[in-house]
């Protein structure tokens, strides 16, 4: 879209990121590697410590999500005059609060419920 749009604004004001073949291929290779490693960690039983494996899998997922955002969704500080990035940061903050707080609260709730006396065990869950 190199021609000016009907509203009279060119591409500079909009800053539509088209992406490039190089960008998509880089993103694809990175995503493929970041997918293969967690599968290998879990299916190959690489570590005996399962919490170490879970932590690594989740960390790699966060990295892969960032790769997808940069190379596939083309999010940068200029897209839509910076508003995309603002909305994204706002969402991340709220998602972290929702997810983190829910897991934290419910985990404590579960541990405070324990231990159960044997005659109530069958009703658990």
């Amino acid at each position: 879209m190199s021609h000016p749009t009907a509203s009279g604004h060119g591409d500079d004001a909009l800053h539509v990121h088209q992406g490039s073949l190089r960008g998509y291929l880089t993103g694809f290779v990175l995503a493929a590697i970041l997918t293969a490693i967690p599968f290998w960690l879990v299916m190959g039983h690489v570590f005996d410590n399962r919490w170490l494996t879970i932590t690594l899998v989740l960390l790699l997922a966060v990295v892969q999500i960032l790769v997808h955002i940069v190379y596939f969704l083309h999010l940068d500080t200029h897209s839509e005059g910076g508003w995309n990035m603002m909305a994204f940061i706002f969402t991340i903050v709220l998602v972290v609060i929702v997810l983190g707080a829910s897991i934290w609260v419910m985990y404590n709730e579960n541990s405070l419920m324990m231990p159960m006396s044997p005659q109530y065990q069958h009703s658990e869950g």
């Binding site: 299916m43 494996t53 709220l94 869950g125």
Partner: protein, 208 residues
Amino acid sequence: MNATVVDTAGVAPTAFLCHEEPPAHNGTLLGFWIYLMSDCFIFASLFACYAVLGTNDAGGPSAAQILDLPGLAVNTALLLLSSVTFGFAMLEMARQRKRAMLAWLAVAGLLAAGFVGLELHEFHHMIEAGAGPDRSAFLSSFFTLVGTHGLHVSVGILWLIVLMVQLGKFGLTEANIRRLRCLSMFWHFLDLVWVGVFSFVYLAGVLR
């Protein structure tokens, strides 16, 4: 920006238009991005549900017993390839090559259809084995989260088919390019959510 206002309107720019104001362009892409962010909240709450309920199997099958990791690897590959081929279609769109663009879009759509097909097959297999969404809290949260994602992908495929008909009939008009950009964001966003699903629900799920 003020200069373009003078060019198009032929009158002096209004005095209250200051530099800090956002550009007055069509805000569809920004609006669609904000929709995607709100979609993040839907998935975040479903992820939170699964995080809380994922181990409550009520004596039924646990994640490690019922989830099929080799099938998951195929599904993940299909969705990632679909995301990349959609990107290739966007590159062809930028070069105004309609036929090549439609071909890549068709490939992306078929890969996504394969993803949905495999997922339905897995769901069918689980329900047959007595591990339906009514079996335990773990399976309810599993089917809700993975099913919501699958529904999004299915709607995306429907959108893609309608848009391909439009593109075939009316060509690369400005409106169609805008729609295709929105669908492209939707498509990549669903692949991004799937990263969370396969990592958190499946890979971390079988270890908990």
